[in-house]
Symmetry: C2
């Protein structure tokens, strides 16, 4: 039994409204997801050592999460439901723990990720709905959804996304695999909703891809411009970035919850 | 033609997210709906005199509007669509003009009102959804919607609402007529949604009625407690007020758009 040291590693699923956060990563003099969550986690720790949290990845200022994943280690043992209730009683109203699991110490929120999915909401109409200004992007020009639907399959697969990466990226490779990409209209809310699932995404990749897809839907770009953009590897050909307010980190997949049977190209 | 002086009275339909407003009415050193809108209206006026706006009524801090009505007079003539586009290009993103009409000078946004409707959204569940904290009330205890449905008809009709008026009210009479009241469940969003239409509402009346209805749904009050509360005329019997964040001024009715055939008790 002595060798079998019990892990007190907790994996939590986290939702947050990104509006009033300066992004995920800790920054001095800024309100960040990491700082707010770490402050709450440390109130539940009996250790004198500061407990650091590890997220599946960063989200930018204004970007939302429906299912961000974070892990941390505590010296003390707390039941899973106690983690959920305890943290939610401490956290501010714009952040909420949806679920918690005790996981093996081999689990790492960032390094053991298999895939991630993002959702992007675009509201239409001449003006921005006051209730959506922080929760959607906005496109006031005409959109032909059928054109976008023709472009979407070009995104699925393994591609070099160098044309779709913002300048701040430190990624060594720009090759990523997109497992699924969809677009649908929410006519009741006058919105167009995109979803992307892939093995990883470059800095601002989703927001740049959405901007290109909207330009295709408006007829400003040829339907199969993605194929050309993979070749030219030039960000200057994709100058627009859809606003952070429309982007939601929807789900982070790990080995157990990754639907293996849907993988067509997984390296 | 000289006698027929042209009215430049404009009636506008206004939506706003009440979160960042200290209510409708102008106040020094506060951001109010009236001040923000008056500032925009005066930018469209050619007159040197300050143009005042008149709302159908006040909304409190945090209360939203889907269809507030406001009127104002301009010396200069602007087409209706020009009012909509012009104001929206000036207004901040949490306020939006939905429609504008040139109306006779006998129209008054407040004094010619026939009825108003309000919507109230209650989110359920143990914790507040981070994306709903400013847009719903929240009730974490159990609710039996059937009990609320039994109580709702007691609200419809002409009643003395003295038990349902907040202390700040300056109304001379507490008698109001409610034309319609409904409750429905939005199961997809885990919400309970109330709607009320009446010839007028006292200060905080909707929010106090919602709090009583929730207590009925939880079994803390008898189903027909409204009938007793009309008799006792005592606010101390209704201590709770549902939060402002769940309340939306939905529509203001004037003679032309008031559905006369649905009136059963209209004095």
């Amino acid at each position: 039994m002595e060798n079998e040291k019990m892990s007190n590693r907790y994996k939590i699923i986290l939702a947050y409204d990104g509006t009033n956060f300066a992004g995920f990563q800790s920054q001095p003099h800024q309100r960040t997801v990491q700082d707010v969550l770490e402050s709450a986690v440390n109130k539940m720790s009996t250790s004198k050592n500061f407990v650091r949290i590890f997220g599946s990845g960063r989200t930018d200022a204004g970007v939302h999460a429906l299912g961000q994943v974070v892990h941390f280690d505590l010296e003390n043992r707390i039941p899973e439901q106690g983690i959920v209730n305890g943290l939610n009683s401490i956290l501010p109203l714009d952040m909420q723990v949806l679920d918690a699991h005790i996981v093996p110490s081999t689990f790492h929120a960032r390094f053991t990720t298999h895939a991630k999915s993002y959702l992007y909401r675009v509201s239409r109409g001449r003006f921005v709905d006051p209730f959506k200004r922080f929760y959607t992007g906005h496109y006031k020009y005409s959109l032909d959804i059928e054109l976008i639907k023709q472009a979407i399959p070009d995104i699925i697969g393994k591609h070099d996304f160098s044309s779709f990466v913002a300048s701040g990226s430190q990624a060594r490779s720009h090759i990523r695999t997109i497992y699924n990409a969809t677009v649908r209209e929410d006519l009741g809310n006058d919105e167009v909703i995109f979803e992307f699932c892939g093995n990883g995404f470059l800095y601002n990749q989703v927001r740049i891809m959405v901007a290109v897809l909207l330009e295709i839907g408006n007829g400003r770009r040829p339907v199969h411009d993605f194929l050309r953009l993979y070749e030219v590897k030039d960000r200057n050909q994709c100058r627009q970035t859809a606003p952070a307010s429309g982007l939601y980190l929807k789900k982070v997949y790990y080995e157990k919850d990754w639907p293996q049977n849907t993988i067509t190209d997984f390296n």
